[in-house]
Symmetry: C3
Subunit: 344 residues, 3 copies
């Protein structure tokens, strides 16, 4: 249950090296590669000749060649040539609209002609030289909506991530959720608390004392179909919290794209964007390593939750105030899916 | 096809340490733990909030805490508390009746209110200080009734356990099977034969000559739903066999509980109880090691038999005299299942 | 979708050592062994007593004994004896016709009474002392017809086997396909080309210069239900090609039997027969090793193609001139399957 008339992150540029990349997205087997001009292309991963996966083939001057019998596929899904064959009447394969922006390759899994690159959500941090980004990719066996729930309700940090970013005060702070302009925002502010280990590390990285009370904030923003950006940070207590001047703050943006692979599995692109020391690659690497460990802690819980839900399909889950972020996000998704169903 | 209004061995006390234990029994996902008083508890392994498995959580002063969002579950299946929430209206989860006795945790997989601890079968050896016990647990992919068949027809020892307890004379001795007082007993007596390797070892452990003829016996007793106790032993020939005075005997009780996990898999608790040298822990360990090796020999046969039966569901198996133990055991089980179906 | 009234290669003699061999062929679980006279036998892999797989048993003087309870099975599928039992009324299990010939054990998966050993296709190289043979066995997850397609269209060599036997000129040479006398023959002749690495090696093994132009040929012959023999070779250019005298030639016969295990998996017996240096065992071993590596390159492609076809069952594959070998082979198979359906 996912909308298909929309953009999803398909892969990162480093995954498109000199070989085609096979990746299933929204139940569609796709092959990704770069053409002669370096432009990303996505096609159905199915050779029209005998059904071989084109992703097992190779690239010749930016042209995709089937690794079975040498059929050369065009970037438009029409066969370009094949040794000893006239190819005009060969059936076409599906072409998917792709666009490279903000350091990701985006794909539109339904009709390519409807794809509008203006619909790719704007990512300020990705274009601003004052920001740096580092991230990774996990393959997780769960419905993408379980990951959205997870990210839109950070009380789980207290339990799943107890040794890094969790702390009791998250549970105790009230949470506010609203849907505005087609996005869901859920926020939590915790004043005058001690920073947990991850934030102590971040304070030190900002040359700030790590053993004094801080004001902490979490502002989660869901943008359909599958993006959650979370502004997180701490500031030395009493300097304005989220509004504090930069010299008192350590903050960053958690970046999450959960692209459905199937109904119960995702490609989870996670990362962190920050606007301090943007050129410090060692810091980027160290943050990525730390975040990677923290985010791996969710995997077992989500996969086991998924299995439990498959086992009891008739059970209705609870919708508490802390779940409002996930609930409102699903409402936007349901609307998109309904609109697509009506349209086509 | 198993009765559910009855007691099954769920786990052993050493499996309930400081963490919850997730275990599926009779197709029910359960979580086991000890409460603040050390009493064993079993609940459905499903958090009423978002369906996470409670067995991924932790224990806080004997209370089960969900590892996802910190819901605290009561031993009665009612949510006790959750940070920042009123929990009175939370849906309950299933509570299962459990009871610790004889060195095992027993569970009643259906309605807890019907559970009667007086129905746990009496195990003399477990309470008598003249006896010692050692055992283990195997997870086997077969219907629990295939294991009952296996244990109620020991002619397989000659073939499956040829190098330890098997010997030709088992096949040659007549077998007697009867159903008495809701139990099935099948027995075999082999007089004046040479002891096979396992019994030579047991004779030596009893300070008896191991190279002289013995009288050997096997008395298998099935108690529904899934318990087989086997009195096994040898005595120097001519001293009365099964009735021989202790100074001529080496004997013990093979202990088997095969708890259904699903229709085609079991938790197989196996062990051996003995009434000689009960305080000799090294002997207990050595017997357990030997028995563990022997009982592992059955696993492949049972799993492959199960796959063959799934492949040919319409075939009727033979019911020979040697199969009478299994056949009569299944009759008792069918009756229990039928009674349950009528009742509920 | 495979015919069953016909011979398939089941195993090689070295697989029938002192233990029974369990192998599924055409969806039938079978057990193979040699009787007291050394004659190969095939039976259903199902003990009539309790359904244990007989292949887990053992051989006693050429008699198959069930490893569970010692039932002794006759080579005719009738139980011969069982300890303490009268076996006359035991149900029979299926016996399959088997015949050992040409260095293979052949099996007829349907009614044994219809099996006619004269229908085993003649293999000249297997009986002629001027020839040597070496080969191996791969287990591949694909429909046997995908492997037939593969072998009847060698243009894939250029892509799948680019570093050994592939070369651009294969694609460029016209292919001729015809069905004659119940066989399909597809042939390709490439004159005055440079030999690829594998054939350079073969030329050297024949004490011929490996750096001069050659005439190369490939003559693929499909014999139903699942045999493809390919005459392959090169001769120094200008000496008559396929007809060239032996002193200018390096040639051999690629041997392929793809026995269906299930609808989407095969036992693939591959090998090479040659009529030069037939007694040079080191050469046989070295050819087998090289061929094994080359043929392993097809596995991933075929398995991934199979998965793609299962995903899109409604898609029709193309039938180009290069596919004529596979297309005509499937036509013969369809006819056989239809004839069987009408008969039975």
């Amino acid at each position: 249950m996912f909308p298909k008339n929309c953009w999803y992150v398909a892969c990162t540029p480093d995954e498109l090296d000199n070989k085609p990349l096979g990746r299933r997205i929204c139940n569609e087997p796709m092959v990704f590669y770069r053409d002669a001009e370096g432009k990303a292309v996505a096609l159905e991963d199915f050779c029209p000749h005998r059904g071989a996966p084109l992703s097992l083939g190779y690239l010749e001057d930016g042209q995709l060649v089937c690794g079975y019998h040498g059929l050369k596929m065009g970037a438009d899904g029409k066969t370009d040539s094949m040794p000893g064959q006239r190819v005009q009447s060969f059936p076409c394969i599906k072409r998917f609209a792709v666009h490279e922006r903000y350091g990701f390759i985006w794909v539109w899994p339904s009709d390519a002609d409807q794809a509008d690159i203006n619909l790719i959500p704007h990512l300020e941090w990705a274009e601003n030289p004052d920001w740096a980004y580092g991230g990774g990719l996990y393959h997780i066996q769960c419905d993408y909506r379980l990951m959205i729930d997870n990210l839109m309700d950070l009380t789980h940090e207290t339990y799943v991530h107890a040794t890094s970013i969790g702390q009791k005060e998250i549970d105790e702070a009230p949470v506010h959720t609203k849907t505005v302009d087609g996005e869901v925002v859920t926020s939590r502010f915790m004043d005058n608390i001690m920073p947990p280990p991850f934030w102590q590390m971040a304070l030190r990285a900002n040359d700030l004392a790590d053993d004094v009370p801080v004001d902490r904030w979490q502002i989660c923003r869901f943008t359909p179909p599958s993006q959650v950006m979370i502004e997180v940070g701490v500031a030395h207590a009493g300097h304005g919290g989220y509004e504090a001047p930069a010299q008192y703050r350590a903050n960053s943006t958690v970046v999450d794209f959960m692209t459905p692979e199937t109904d119960t599995s995702i490609w989870y692109f996670w990362g962190m964007a920050r606007d301090f020391k943007p050129h410090d690659q060692a810091l980027t690497d160290s943050i990525r390593e730390g975040q990677g460990k923290i985010f791996a802690e969710d995997q077992d819980m989500l996969e086991r939750q998924q299995r439990n839900l498959l086992e009891y399909p008739e059970r209705r889950l609870m919708k508490l105030n802390i779940d409002a972020g996930g609930v409102q996000s699903r409402r936007l998704l349901d609307k998109m899916i309904e609109t697509e169903a009506e349209a086509g």
